[in-house]
């Protein structure tokens, strides 16, 4: 059984570089702890070349490298990077197990042809990690532990060929194979220091001398690694963001941070085959408090400019009202609509493309002002709702409608209050905003009496042709004894 393993070394540092990519190539150190006990936990290569090593005190590190960029370890950022590593692995195989933060195993059974062999699989793992902003190492082997060792100890890509496990492990020290210190010490007293030397020992008597741990280690050294994968069900939670050293007041500054966070989110979503169906922004405010802003997305999309425009629109309408110290964006995962496009007939539009344009236009016109018109189930002509725009694919049978063409009614929203002069119980002249004239012809009335149980509406409707040449729809609200122009035929 083949396994792939993705290893992201120095996860705290890589998590930081994901959020601040401009620090690439500079001496950077990530620190943990408080006061005098604070220590460096991860350093970049330029810092390491200047002598800064993990475990150093902050003062020592700064003395060794005066240009050192020091950042505190941010748990939320590190957690996002850990989840991103899982998402990258999930882009390659559906069965994923997390061994440790930044160390992910995938079930590689049947994936050889898809990715072009073991090396292709390892390359796919690294490429997926790079997409989510992580630099990693990958290993492929016949066994979980061997794949893990290959990834951690290899350089870039390490593929252990089938049957070559024993030879691969032979030169490694036993500690690298996970031997406990007590067992390693016992074996060292026997003069056994490497996996190859241990594998050369006979099996008989091992169990009585070294116990079950010794037998397991011996079997591993012989290249026998039968431990099954324990796949983890990845929760559809995607969150990105960062805490800031200085408060941000201006909107542009906030958007400057928001864009990369959205880009990281979208990359993670696409790794898992999802689109963004909604967003929630959490802004940590100065001196205390939090603003939670839910962003509605009209249709699931992966288009970052669209999502940014939606966030911007919401922030303009509901500004946080205080300086911002931290930003978190959580995405709701939504599955894309899959549709078979056609070879013949009318060209159809891919649902993803349509969803993107709908979300983009919704960001321009605002929430609730875009969709399919849905007349309400009511006798009131102008009542409507806005439905989700999800057009059905065209069918072969659809043809043009037969029959008469209909005149359109241009509705006045809201209806125009009108003054009506009556003669013989019927309207004779009408005056409203921008509309004045004598009634030339009239049809009606038709009474509508609805909503008695909640919102009563009782009115008489007329179609009136005025001396200005247009035909209007006029209504007399009987409950208020007021007249309204509902619309004009055009």
């Amino acid at each position: 059984m083949r396994f792939g393993c993705l290893f992201v070394p120095d996860l705290p540092l890589q998590a930081l570089l994901r959020v601040e990519p401009d620090l690439h190539g500079r001496p950077v150190a990530v620190a943990q702890g408080e006061g005098a006990s604070a220590r460096v936990v991860a350093v970049s290569v330029p810092a390491r070349t200047q002598g800064v090593l993990p475990g150093a005190r902050l003062k020592e590190a700064l003395a060794l490298c005066p240009d050192l960029v020091l950042r505190w370890d941010d748990e939320a950022v590190r957690e996002a990077a850990r989840e991103a590593a899982l998402d990258a692995a999930a882009a390659v195989s559906p069965r994923v197990e997390e061994v440790a933060p930044g160390l992910v195993l995938v079930d590689a059974r049947g994936l050889g042809k898809l990715h072009g062999g073991d090396r292709g699989l390892a390359s796919a793992l690294l490429a997926a990690a790079r997409r989510v902003g992580l630099e990693g190492k990958a290993g492929v082997a016949s066994g979980k532990r061997i794949a893990r060792i290959a990834a951690v100890r290899g350089e870039g890509i390490e593929v252990v060929p089938r049957g070559g496990e024993r030879a691969f492990l032979a030169p490694l020290p036993l500690a690298a194979l996970g031997a406990s210190p007590a067992l390693a010490e016992t074996l060292a007293r026997w003069g056994v220091g490497t996996a190859g030397a241990f594998a050369a020992l006979p099996e008989s008597g091992l169990a009585s001398r070294l116990g079950p741990e010794g037998v397991r280690l011996w079997r591993l050294c012989r290249g026998r690694d039968d431990e099954p994968i324990v796949p983890r069900e990845l929760p559809p939670i995607f969150e990105e963001g960062c805490d800031l050293d200085h408060e941000i007041v201006a909107m542009e500054g906030l958007l400057f941070l928001l864009r990369p966070a959205l880009e990281r989110l979208v990359e993670r979503l696409s790794c898992r085959g999802f689109s963004c169906g909604g967003l929630t922004m959490r802004l940590s405010l100065e001196p205390a408090g939090e603003a939670i802003l839910p962003v509605e997305v009209a249709a699931p999309t992966r288009d970052v400019p669209t999502l940014l425009a939606l966030c911007r629109s919401l922030l303009e309408r509901r500004p946080p009202g205080a300086p911002v110290r931290g930003l978190r964006v959580r995405a709701e995962a939504a599955g894309g609509r899959i549709e078979q496009l056609r070879l013949f007939g009318l060209p159809t539009v891919s649902p993803d493309r349509l969803a993107t344009v709908v979300a983009k236009v919704a960001a321009i016109v605002g929430d609730g002002r875009l969709g399919s018109p849905v007349p309400e189930d009511s006798h009131v002509h102008e009542a409507f709702a806005m439905g989700r725009f999800d057009p059905p694919p065209p069918t072969e049978e659809e043809t043009a409608p037969e029959g008469e063409r209909h005149l359109a009614l241009r509705l006045f929203r809201p209806p125009l209050p009108a003054e009506v002069r009556m003669a013989a119980g019927l309207p004779q002249a009408i005056s409203a905003r921008g509309v004045t004239g004598w009634v030339v012809s009239l049809a009606g009335p038709w009474r509508v009496d609805v909503g008695w149980h909640e919102r009563p509406l009782c009115r008489d409707g007329f179609d009136v042709e005025l001396s200005d040449g247009a035909v209007y729809r006029l209504a007399h609200d009987l409950s208020q004894d007021r007249w309204f122009l509902l619309g004009r035929y055009d």
């Binding site: 009318l346 344009v357 321009i364 875009l370 399919s372 999800d390 659809e398 359109a408 049809a443 035909v471």
Partner: protein, 254 residues
């Protein structure tokens, strides 16, 4: 004088000029030129199709100016036809005057009609631009009836015209919004007298007849006009739902 290709590569300043002209779309190759030529999008109104040489020109702006003359009915009829034949239609309603129930009673497949209600003119132009640029909507109706003509900048029309041409969408503009020089055709409907029938309280508004004239024409079409009749919608909306077979509408059990 034709310039041989080899000379073009030998003269970098000329090559850069050609590249600039191509980028600014002033110089096009024969294939692109063919792509730019408008193909007709049938409207479902046979007399209008005859007037327009087969239908609305794809990739062009068509203007429907005038008020109270039936231009909305004309646009709605075209939208009904396209939506019923499986195409998507976007209706950018800057005037906020669209009547969903009227559209349904006219036969529109509302699921294929994207209704967009921008709050201001700027948002309407941006929305129309995004919808055209998506290439998903063969017809985008931009209803600017309420706005004053000078509000839409010429640069915006230029952008819309280029977008329509590049993505093969037809932009139908309702209202006199200053698109004249960018419109490939201007249809001017003029209405005859409204028809009423009956007498007294039961009198009915029957509908109107339109004379539709092709005014501006950059398509090389013969000038002409055509007559179209439109029926008034029902005053009392038909019930939005029909009772399932075997059930009673009022009283009684299911």
């Amino acid at each position: 004088m034709a310039i041989p290709k080899r000379d073009l590569s030998a003269r970098p300043e000329l090559a850069s000029l050609v590249a600039d002209l191509r980028r600014s779309r002033l110089l096009v190759g024969p294939q692109e030129l063919e792509h730019r030529l408008p193909t007709p999008l049938p409207t479902g109104l046979a007399p209008l199709d005859r007037l327009l040489g087969g239908g609305l020109p794809r990739g062009r702006i068509v203007e429907l100016p005038g008020e109270k003359t039936g231009s909305t009915a004309l646009a709605l009829s075209i939208a009904v036809h396209l939506s019923r034949t499986g195409r998507l239609v976007a209706w950018v309603d800057a005037a906020d005057a669209f009547d969903p129930r009227g559209a349904r009673e006219a036969g529109a497949a509302l699921a294929r009609l994207l209704w967009c209600r921008p709050r201001d003119l700027r948002a309407a132009i941006r929305a129309a631009d995004a919808l055209i640029a998506s290439g998903a909507f063969p017809l985008v109706v931009l209803d600017l009836r309420r706005e004053t003509p000078r509000l839409v900048a010429q640069g915006a029309w230029l952008r819309l015209a280029r977008g329509a041409e590049a993505h093969r969408s037809c932009l139908l503009v309702l209202g006199e919004a200053g698109a004249q020089s960018f419109a490939a055709a201007t249809l001017v409907p003029s209405r005859a007298k409204a028809r009423f029938s009956g007498k007294g309280p039961g009198r009915l508004f029957e509908g109107v007849e339109l004379d539709c004239r092709l005014k501006r024409n950059k398509l090389g079409l013969a000038p002409g006009e055509t007559k179209l009749a439109f029926r008034a919608p029902e005053h009392l909306p038909s019930l939005a739902w029909d009772p399932p077979p075997g059930t009673l509408r009022f009283g009684g059990g299911r």
